[in-house]
Symmetry: C2
Subunit: 388 residues, 2 copies
């Protein structure tokens, strides 16, 4: 096991009826709150009313900043920063999924930056984050784990760059997770979310600098089994509380540092390549991952067949004794499972032409350099994309 | 899944060579530190020197309070409170295992209590904890998870009562876990520690108010397998770093709230009865648990054979299809494993006469009432003790 620091102070308030606590939680950090959210859907499903009523009960003054879209963009976050500055808010509340939370985190950093700062330089690691407003969240789509981690991903649309920031300063103070808000999540987005959670864990499982780690392997396998069986339940019965609850808490644990603590440095090649798909084609992040993850796995299985075989045996009960054969069969089973739940598994399926592979690889290679993934040259990325 | 709050802000700094960070961590909370520890063993193994040197480097002024024994007692903690008051310390550092950390937590509460307060009333829940000095830890025995939870257990020796307190105020701010400090832990204490970790998890696994929870089951089973296989490794090779590291982090995760989040109320009957063994006979906590846990399991298997069968099948690969038979076989296998690693599994083995059972049951029944375990009358406890 490698040395690590596990420092995850986010307070999680989990369960049906818990959204009523958000006002008092926000009140611990300020009195004037910027409420960041996405589309009108939170109004249709009563979440908005619950939040506003709790904020009012806590005597908070609220400034609204709606309109976050999936694959959230820098230009929109910049408007949020301007609004937050003009309105002099002292705390940010995100009500939404990863896109909303990541926009809120970006605003939190931006408000405290020098007004002359180019915010994008935090994402290209040219500037270091030194201060941020406190961020709290009410989760409405579970997948990113942004509600309990210190990262945010934003796309700069004019450069088609989907980059990220990371700082303990943007770790949410409190996140409220009420599984009933997931009841109305569409089958497609429920599936994409499951893919995202699984990818978060498998990137660590396969791409860590520790040789092997029995405890972390088991944590990943246990959470992954839970995500898979619960997703199958909710696709037939979207209002199954326990299945939604298991998914919701699994999503958080899948990428809050728990499964990777002790694994050393982690690389995220499937995410890296997917960022280019989202940035160039604006497809849903999870849909992109169910294409790039199996493609990457087919590329990587030859480098560590034993570990891929372990996944196949633990998750799909594959009995084949040859590691490479078991590993390949496991990848195939995972791909079929992604199809079964309705997530695309090839570039073709989402109408991305093979001729675009060079362009995508070029885009991804920029991020590979930024993330210091030396092995992922343009040629390697292109090879992986051909396996997608 | 039941509603829950997961709020665990302890910063964990894990790994070889990490003790050098303790001075700077303590410095975040104060300048005058009470250093609580146990016996001379931390001096023999170089831990003391590392700590003192780091505290000096951070320009802290240190007051020492050694002499904590296993099954730590109130009278000793009271001396620590007096010393901390007289010396006007503003932060407490525990260097040790659960006994030392729990003493440090008790001192942290006591210093901030009214000088006229009877400290024991916090343990009998007559008084509520309203303030405490910050506590940090350097762990030298991994078992209690006290380094990452808000609880402390102390014995009031004159009444033979081993009771506990619980408050977010005594949650350690930072805990440093260096697996190399476990290299010198004796085989007996390594075994008792493993028993303690396993019991912490199985109490939640079997005694929660949620019907069943697939995610939490898998977390428990995954951590338990890791503890068992790593303990077998270190009993043959006490300086196997990875095995010690896996045990050390498993111990923390086993009782830091992770495995029980969402399970609703948890009761700890095997711990409750063990507290009486420790209080009356001063045997090691883990040694007591390897007696009371299997005894309690034999009593409880009839109430929920399916869950006991699950444990037998998952941990010991028992193939028996009848749940009760599989459950009973699992208990037997666990008991044999406790014996294999050198922990006692009967009252007889530790020379506690059968004639004492009434006295023990009477002692435990007091705690059962305090912990509101209504089903555990003196007669039920006596029945369980006869199974021990």
């Amino acid at each position: 096991m490698r040395n690590f620091i596990f420092d995850n102070p986010t307070r999680i308030i989990f369960g049906q009826g818990m959204i009523t606590n958000i006002g008092n939680e926000v009140r611990r950090f300020g009195t004037r709150v910027l409420l960041v959210y996405g589309q009108e859907s939170i109004k249709k499903h009563g979440i908005y009313d619950q939040v506003i009523s709790s904020l009012n009960d806590a005597n908070l003054s609220t400034v609204e900043f709606p309109g976050v879209k999936s694959n959230p963009v820098l230009s929109h976050a910049l408007k949020g920063i301007e609004l937050a500055r003009n309105e002099d808010v002292d705390v940010i509340l995100a009500v939404g999924g990863g896109s909303v939370i990541d926009t809120a985190k970006t605003i939190a950093v931006g408000v405290k930056a020098d007004p002359d700062d180019d915010i994008w330089e935090f994402f290209t690691y040219k500037k270091k984050i030194r201060d941020a407003l406190p961020v709290l969240t009410v989760v409405t789509i579970s997948a990113s784990a942004s509600e309990m981690n210190p990262a945010a991903v934003i796309t700069k649309e004019e450069d088609a760059q989907k980059f990220s920031i990371r700082s303990p300063l943007i770790q949410p103070k409190t996140s409220i997770l009420d599984p009933t808000v997931l009841f109305s999540l569409s089958p497609a987005y429920s599936a994409y979310s499951a893919v995202d959670m699984i990818t978060h864990m498998l990137e660590g499982y396969f791409n860590n600098s520790e040789h092997d780690s029995p405890l972390q392997n088991r944590l990943v396998e246990g959470i992954m089994k839970t995500v898979m069986e619960s997703t199958e339940v909710i696709l037939n019965n979207p209002e199954n509380y326990n299945a939604r609850a298991n998914i919701m808490w699994s999503a958080t644990l899948a990428f809050n540092g728990l499964t990777t603590a002790g694994m050393g440095a982690i690389s995220l090649p499937a995410h890296m390549i997917e960022h280019s798909l989202s940035a160039l084609y604006n497809i849903a992040h999870g849909a992109g991952l169910s294409i790039t993850l199996p493609g990457w796995m087919k590329y990587a299985v030859h480098k560590n067949p034993a570990k891929f075989a372990r996944l196949g045996r633990e998750i799909f009960a594959i009995e084949e004794t040859d590691d490479l054969t078991a590993g390949v069969e496991g990848i195939d089973r995972l791909k079929r499972w992604f199809s079964l739940i309705g997530s695309p598994t090839s570039l073709q399926e989402v109408d991305i032409p093979g001729d675009d592979i060079d362009t995508i690889a070029e885009n991804a290679a920029v991020l590979a350099r930024l993330w210091r993934l030396k092995d992922y040259t343009r040629n390697v990325i292109s090879e992986i994309l051909h396996l997608c």
